[in-house]
Amino acid sequence: MADKVWVYIDQYKGEAIGASWEVVGAARVLADQLGGGVTAVVAGSAVQQVAEQAQHYGADQVYMCNDGTLDEFRAEPYASLLSGLAREHQPEVILFPTTSRGRELAAMVAVDLGTGVMPDVTALEIQDGNIVVTRPVYGGKLISKAVCSSRPQLITTRIRAFTLPEPDPAKAGNVEQVNASVSEDQILTKVSGYSESSAGVTLNDAAVIVSGGRGVSNNPSLVPPDGMDEKEAEVWKAQQGFKLIGDLAGVLGGAVGASRAAVDAGYVPYDHQVGQTGKVVSPDLYIACGISGAIQHQAGMRTSKVIVAINKDSEAPIFKMARFGVVGDLFEIVPPLTAALKNRLNT
């Protein structure tokens, strides 16, 4: 009998996205209650190794599809594959990690199968045979429960919200090779190139985030090079400031975030924005430097485990949510903090 609980393993260029394994862990908890095992769907152009790993993390059954049409991610052929498998085997639930790919795929499979999708959930429970999910809404200002009356229930799980299981190299499941369900001439898009992000560590799955705000441009001791107008000088100063933020993030193996004010002022690219109209993050440690903590910013980082705030303004709202605060000039505090942590962590 086919498993009731499925997971989609997200991968990029043949390497699994770490959050996929959190999803396998969440699937195991559901399967223990609903009965049966966990089936993983692994697709790409050369994903044997991902299929191996899926078993180590706990998949009992793996549907593996290696096909040229699945080389670069395009939602359409991936969705058609997954929808076809789901039609054939009728799972109760398919879980996806909340990545850009996972979300789009769940969206399309929902259309194919005429069912509902519940994205970016932070908790799962079973009531009367239905999965009740918990979802932050309004940028985390409210918490909602949601249920889906049709099958399969399509759910994407928020990155870092579920526990990562320990892999066990001795674990082995059954791998079944499956064929792609559409051919290249049926696919509506072509990928003609890509460039890697300059961000280094991506914000969504970072365990540590160091963020800068508008205050990062206010270092009074900097003298901009000759010939810059006022705006250029401000951005130049901000970029020097963000170097300090980047140094601290680097020592902690973390990512660099920013407030909307810093992004709108042109200090850093939008990819770094944390908040209601940026990325919603939930790291173990969030260090806010020169960020006042507007409600929109709080919406993006309030579930961080430990929040540290460094700000000149003792009245800044960010201090109300911070575990530790320093009322002071970030340009005076951040460099010695980087040095002190580097020294203590031996990095």
Binding site: T115, P119, R135, Y138, L188, Y270, V308, E332, L337
Partner: protein, 259 residues
Amino acid sequence: MKIVVCVKQVPDTAAKVVVEDGQITWGDSPLVINPWDEYAVETALIQQEAHGGEVTVISVGGEDAKEALKHALAMGCGNAILVSEPGIEKSDSLLTSRILAAAIQKIGDVDAAFFGRQAIDGDVGVTAAQTARVLGWPSLTLVSAITELDPGNNTVRVERSIEEGRQVVEGKLPAVISVVKDIGEPRYPSFMGIRRASRAEIPIWSTSDIGAELSEPVVTWPEITNPPQQEVVTELVTGGSPEEIAGKLADKILEEKVL
């Protein structure tokens, strides 16, 4: 070129949204066009300026959703349509995308439908991809730049912003395109635009007008609550030189055992 932009009306991002007696409230804060959708309107207007044609803005929602449409008209969209009937605001994403797809087909000969990446109320973020799938059109989501769009040859090339970087994707028109903030700052409504929008009569279509059906949503929200109060005791680190403060702060961070 015939362009559609799909927008939603939401509480302002600065609103203090809370649940009182089981109802969501946002006090005196205004309802506004979803901020992401303003980028979609801007993108649509830029394409219209480049290629000619008309931009129609559509919303699915209650009758009060007209304010979002008026904002889009004030920015420069030529036409607005509200798809509305009792109960429509309970639609889940699947229903909404079916209704939007039917409205786009009713308008007819549409070359491109633009969306914001997600609405800031439900944070679901799947409507663009679902509408594309219902229509059978290419889904170009999370687009940060349109590098080429040729309505004569029906081709489009975009850059998508994904976690790992930028992906260049080519497709055929008609296509669904959802945009992110990098696409360019939305313009402010002009004085003339605001005047024109305030006088505009916005037609209301029912689902039966467009050959769609308002069925029961499959996703429901049985409960909505305020988030648990976080009991944070803030400890201010003070005293001594910046180096001493930094050293103390480093020790305290390490004591939390999150590194």
